[in-house]
Symmetry: C3
Subunit: 309 residues, 3 copies
């Protein structure tokens, strides 16, 4: 029996396949519920605290919308400006304090491992909303949800992960989560921005088939899913180095003629040049639906850790 009551959501490495499927099924019920009645009262009287030590409109608003659609309410801060952190308070003390006010904490922080530290000091369940370049597990769950919804399954899919695989936490969490399924991964990145060895070792251990390639055009015709993230200039030693490789990670509309008809494109957003707006009109584009799915997945997670689903 899967029971998430009181559980922290810190890393996708913590989930079994059974647990992931359980969460996705609950998210699916939440989607039906929202479509039928807009919202519920399942979390009435519960308070979510959003502690964003690093700003993020998307993730913060998504969690807030999820909590409100569940009938709960929200307190929190969206940047450290004006918080007690500025008065010299330790991260642990801030967590302990807000833990007294809320029933569940959502934490984003630039330092890898910070969500785990928060979970250790808080009595309430803690959900990791991004701990630096490390992980972003709720994003990975909504990615899986979108894949399953659009493709009908997660097993037996060929999936390309494209862009800066080194720094994109969403890619790390997604790789960990996908390792529970029978997928083939194409890891498409410049050599400087390869998936970290720590993640590759994990894939090896879990016997996930993967290939590292350096140009999206090599694999575009073979895959069911293309998952793209930004490749940022600042990650390169020189602007010349960046200019040399950047085109290999852009989903140019002309590339899509080679793709399978039912191939889907996902992106955690925000996007810049790697995903031109011309792609939006194609049937491959699923990234705004993906945004909406985030609310259903987070509704499920909030309901589960608070023991109300």
């Amino acid at each position: 029996m899967v029971d998430f009551t009181g559980r922290d959501i810190i890393s996708c490495k913590d989930f079994t396949r059974e647990e992931i499927v359980y969460i996705l099924d609950k998210a699916s019920s939440m989607e039906e519920l929202v479509k039928k009645q807009g919202s519920t009262d399942l979390l009435k009287g519960k308070i979510l605290a959003t502690l964003f030590f690093e700003p993020s409109t998307r993730t913060r608003l998504s969690f807030e919308a999820a909590m409100l659609r569940m009938g709960g309410s929200v307190i929190g801060f969206s940047s450290i400006e004006g918080t007690s952190i500025m008065k010299g308070e330790s991260f642990e003390d801030t967590i302990r304090t807000v833990d007294q006010y809320a029933d569940v904490l959502v934490v984003r922080h630039p330092k890898p491992g910070s969500a785990k530290i928060a979970a250790n000091v808080a009595e309430s369940p803690v959900i990791n909303a991004g701990d630096g370049p490390n992980e972003h597990p709720t994003q990975a769950l909504l990615d899986l949800y979108t894949i399953r919804k659009e493709k009908g399954r997660i097993d037996d899919l060929d999936i390309a992960l494209v862009g800066d695989l080194k720094h994109a936490r969403t890619m790390h969490s997604l790789a960990y989560a996908l390792s529970n399924f029978k997928v083939k991964l194409y890891l498409v990145s410049p050599p400087q921005l390869r998936m970290p060895s720590e993640v590759l070792d994990y894939l090896d251990k879990k016997k996930v088939e993967y290939v590292e390639v350096s140009n999206i055009s090599e694999v575009i015709s073979k895959v069911d899913v293309v998952y793209v993230v930004r490749v940022q200039k600042e990650r390169f030693k020189s602007i010349e180095e960046y200019e040399k490789v950047k085109a290999s990670y852009i989903i140019k509309p002309e590339l899509l003629s080679k793709a399978r008809k039912d191939m889907i494109i996902l992106h955690p957003l925000p996007r810049t040049i790697e995903l031109p707006v011309e792609v939006d009109k194609t049937p491959h584009a699923k990234y705004f639906g993906q945004v909406r799915n985030g609310v259903y997945v987070r509704m499920a997670l909030l309901g589960l850790v608070l023991g109300r689903l």
Copy 2:
């Protein structure tokens, strides 16, 4: 039959007289309802997103209070600090994203026409909360509501619009809205800050009687309503030029002895020197009641575009 379900509120030029009266009547019911029971559950489960790309305490809090008194809830941001805009996301992408979270969007943005663009990309209804110097339609509706409430009618009134008519979007929206009624307008401004020709052309087309004058003292004895906005130093080529004219747009308490007994003074606030605090004690001052009326009007608008009134 007037039906606002799903409709965007972008410009006062989009309203017919019948529609304006319909909104004001609904706002009137909202006022009664708040006075009787404080709040309702009409928008329970609905989420309003406030997207303020430019800060505003007043308009943001007014919309939030309106949504909460309707039983709904609110997410959003109050400045672009820490939003994905800072990461290079386009305005359209931000709108599309938040559209996935909320049932209705309220947008303030410094660029004229931005609310219209938002309405084009969002599926949810969009309400313009100020698009640069262009329009601020909900302010105009609450102004009309206040006039009707205080004077018993809008037709057959003589109304002075005083101050920077060039840049004050609230003046443009108010002029457009008033053009549906039988009013006489006195447009009182320095020559540099006259009402834009685009607005004057519209008044001409709608056969609204108006006169341009340059000193409030010329018309103070003739009017039923004095609507004042700020004249900002920064709008003038030199501080000398500003100093020369500013006195002509200040509602000095001594001026009021020449006014009709039942003349009312409105101001969208915040005010600076153009409306001295001494005026607050006079029976002419209606601007704080005007602030409160804004909540009733926005309750009505939210209820209408969400199809719950």
Copy 3:
């Protein structure tokens, strides 16, 4: 009969002993209620506005959590960035405006006396959440609540107030509040940071026994309660002067061996070096429970001033 309906909460000097006990009793009911059912609907439909002209995570989130657990909702701002204050609006106008939106106002402002001014212009009840170095009455009430809860009484206790007694508003409010009880106070501070004569005069008038001492080690063995606040470097003429005295106001773990077994340590938080984390594990540490008690006390106050308890 005690009735707080519509009353402003500005200074602890305004309370009688009977009123304080009444508030603490109501807070106690709120604690039971939260423990039993998490939240109530007593303030459903009511809106709290938090006006923080000076930032504060702790107090703001505590009030928000209190309002939400009472079933009410919250609007407001957490700093003056982006408010109309930046456009030159007066404090009084901002208060008058927000007063039109909300049913109760919580105000923090750097200027002593500002909460009183707000109370004078607002029709809704105003709660002082800190007016510069002057007072912070709700903090004092939650301090008393914690003392009564942990020690079973307030009378007949020996209480040390330790640190910067000159600038810490929470110390002033606490001293005023305690003056209604039979306590002995040890005022422990550097000579430069003594309790202001205004507060000492009040204690004299109310015949409260107190002693001024300059080192916590002198009194640690004699007291039931140690209440600590920060001693900030910036308050001293030179860093040398600060370094010379700072050790006298640090609750070093080794000090605690001399303390009574049931002595309790309180701190309004955030803390820096004056309260080492090693103390957290001792049975004396009550400051995180104190944070939680703040929610119960503020629930009681909100319920009382809104006439719903």
